[in-house]
Symmetry: C3
Amino acid sequence: MPRGPDGGPGGGRASHAPFSYFDTQLGFAVRRWCAPVLGLEPHCRPEAYLERRAELGTGEVTGRLLRASGISAFLVDTGLPGPLLTPGELAETSAGEAHEIVRLERLAERAADTARDTHAFLGEVSEGIREAARTARGFKSVVAYRCGLDVEPSPPGASRVHASADRWLSTRPAGGRLSDPVLERHLLWAAVRTGLPLQLHTGFGDPDLRLDHCDPLLLTDFIRATAPYETPLVLLHCYPYHRGAGYLAAVFPHVYADFGLALSHTGARAHAVLAELLELTPFGKLLFSTDAYGLPELYLVGAQLFREAMTRLTSEWVGRGAWSGSDAESVTAMIAGGTARRLYGL
Amino acid sequence: MPRGPDGGPGGGRASHAPFSYFDTQLGFAVRRWCAPVLGLEPHCRPEAYLERRAELGTGEVTGRLLRASGISAFLVDTGLPGPLLTPGELAETSAGEAHEIVRLERLAERAADTARDTHAFLGEVSEGIREAARTARGFKSVVAYRCGLDVEPSPPGASRVHASADRWLSTRPAGGRLSDPVLERHLLWAAVRTGLPLQLHTGFGDPDLRLDHCDPLLLTDFIRATAPYETPLVLLHCYPYHRGAGYLAAVFPHVYADFGLALSHTGARAHAVLAELLELTPFGKLLFSTDAYGLPELYLVGAQLFREAMTRLTSEWVGRGAWSGSDAESVTAMIAGGTARRLYGL
Amino acid sequence: MPRGPDGGPGGGRASHAPFSYFDTQLGFAVRRWCAPVLGLEPHCRPEAYLERRAELGTGEVTGRLLRASGISAFLVDTGLPGPLLTPGELAETSAGEAHEIVRLERLAERAADTARDTHAFLGEVSEGIREAARTARGFKSVVAYRCGLDVEPSPPGASRVHASADRWLSTRPAGGRLSDPVLERHLLWAAVRTGLPLQLHTGFGDPDLRLDHCDPLLLTDFIRATAPYETPLVLLHCYPYHRGAGYLAAVFPHVYADFGLALSHTGARAHAVLAELLELTPFGKLLFSTDAYGLPELYLVGAQLFREAMTRLTSEWVGRGAWSGSDAESVTAMIAGGTARRLYGL
């Protein structure tokens, strides 16, 4: 490693590894599960995989991977940027059903893009949420990214909301993200009042969060404040705070845990993470999802890792008499989709 | 799932699962271990279990389950509400010995119920603790529930204690709980000064705590401040912060870890939680307990899950040469009761 | 257990177990791995081990254990007190190579011991770091011990640094430790600017830290602020926050995780801790080390526990098809030394 005198930003001397997303549990899991679907050996070299992927073309690859995943119903957060499949395209490609989950921050940002003043903005947000509640299956919030989960629990008063909206709209650069905590709480409470399931990002994700501000336990007071509404709160991902999420699901009737990307990204360790979630989470309150987005590989990997992990855990538990075989089957069915069907009205 | 317009509290639309306490690891463990003691097949249906339980009657069920647990000495927190067995009744029913652990908050609340003024209240608290030290085997605090574990470490001065007691007594509704942090510290220090073991609730429990305020590491400065007294501090439950509890037991001579309800509630995963506790906790500083209360099932489940988990872990470790067989036996004996006998003078 | 009236400090009545460092996972691992190297049976009694050790003498014991560890390159923090082997002596005894890691706090404390005024002190610190960058392979900070990891992220301005140094030097008792947060940040940033790897103590260690102030996630904003410099930040130990460390290594290109003493101290559970580190940490960003210091046993135990744990995990993963055999080999080689060779320029 070359070394020398002071280096400023950009002048760092360290030669970091030619980092590859393939050198992770997720990368290994992609080569294991997806390569055969594209006609390659499991664990083929990354270069071979990418070559074959290009050769087949995105449409063919997406169709193959989606169908191989065996997922029959998709709940799609439509608030992500980029040229992604719509729920309709996803349904068609996969031969499954697909429904929309509305991202609250995106809804507010779209309203801010066009509203002529604060009053109109707030009206559009309210109307947007009311509209969405008629067609979507749930809401999602990324307040974890925007200001962390340690939000004040109560709904903000109308005048504070108005003042915050005023300030945000008047200083917002074009396309600026919502991160005002008062407006975030306003959105969360508006969603809670619809009664539709509200998904909350918790735990790990992209680099633009502070992981220690995403511990779902930080939501405890908000959870307590919303309990009377009985609106389901679905804690997504949760890792590495998933045991705390299980606790919340155990003590609050309206709280659910969804392992989201936690299984996909831990690959060969997915069974261990799932096992920890199954310590305290009541069995009817844990949900499968993949957090797949952009890459169709994530659907297949997420589904296969869950199947393998669940089979492994329940085989072991049934084998030593801790669970009965029929309990294992019914719990598996609940996590794989039964609970989601009930919760989201599929 | 039915959906509709805004619903206020009580008008939530979500239909939560008909939640059953049987749909948890604890519920599965009860059906596994307790059903045979009542003459049923392991994993029989919950309804069959409840029916049989009613048929046999509470006295018979309690006796059977307690004796089957194989527990020979009980340390009973007598500060819980409700018509529970007294230590004497417990001893008689189980054919074991039973001793009292005095809950500090309850002692103070009883004093507040009858004291005619602040001076009398504080005198009664002091006298009560002195009295208890003559007959009980230890004290317990639920400061975790009342104001969280992030308490100031030092003993509060007499005038602050007096002022806080004044304020509490003058505003306390009938039967009101103690949650004043100054009075809590006063109680903790009074107990520490007796030299008797002081149990501290840490980690998970009922919904009226903030789990993230119950991390035993929040007690670090209090632990450091009390070290010169050499009074044993016993951290109860600890989950999901049990690795931190193990660390505290490793670095502070007077700190012990007791897994309490952590094994009962994680059922098929009890071995995994126990294994994590056995990472840093010195082997002579880890204690078995069940946190059983109300339901006699909890005694049997707690005892059986510990036996099974410990056997499993030590078999594995001895099998691959990491531990010797005789070490495994002696560590098991310490955790199962040897350390408790020494610590509580049984 | 004897009990009695109030006992003040020093008058505590509790009789704590005759605590032995052998009654821990580390103690069991020492008896397992080191006893045979000294010609004894694995798991021989502690007394027999200590007797044999005395009989052979420190020089012979050190040589045997170091050579048995199979470690070929040592990176030695030279900022510890006590009569320890120098890197040169270590290299000679082990027949390996040894290099220096410079502890920032020690460097500053040495400068404070001799500098005649604040200006001279700060000059000497700057010069010392510049000097060290020419010969050492990296820097190390124990800011975790001195003021916790929740430091302000940005480099402090020159006048604040000067004022803090002034204050520290004028109030410092002879040999006093550095714990001023402004001076700590000054040191950290000076090290970052050299481009050499900077090791940061995180997670557990000696009793004089607050473990909850050593969560590596508390460094997130500092990590973000230093990203443009591309200087490698190596998070040491990390336990029990190692999953968070893995996350940081996954999302920040310049962050690495080193398990340090986490494997040695968890003994029979080393594979479980390593497995958790291998959930999110990219495989080229995890490093082996032993944190050995003082006792040569720690080198052998650290190396053997890693070998055994890694073999066990990869055998299992390859056995069920999650990893390929050649991937297992190459990842093992990276963790065992490949990444360290690249990072530290060995």
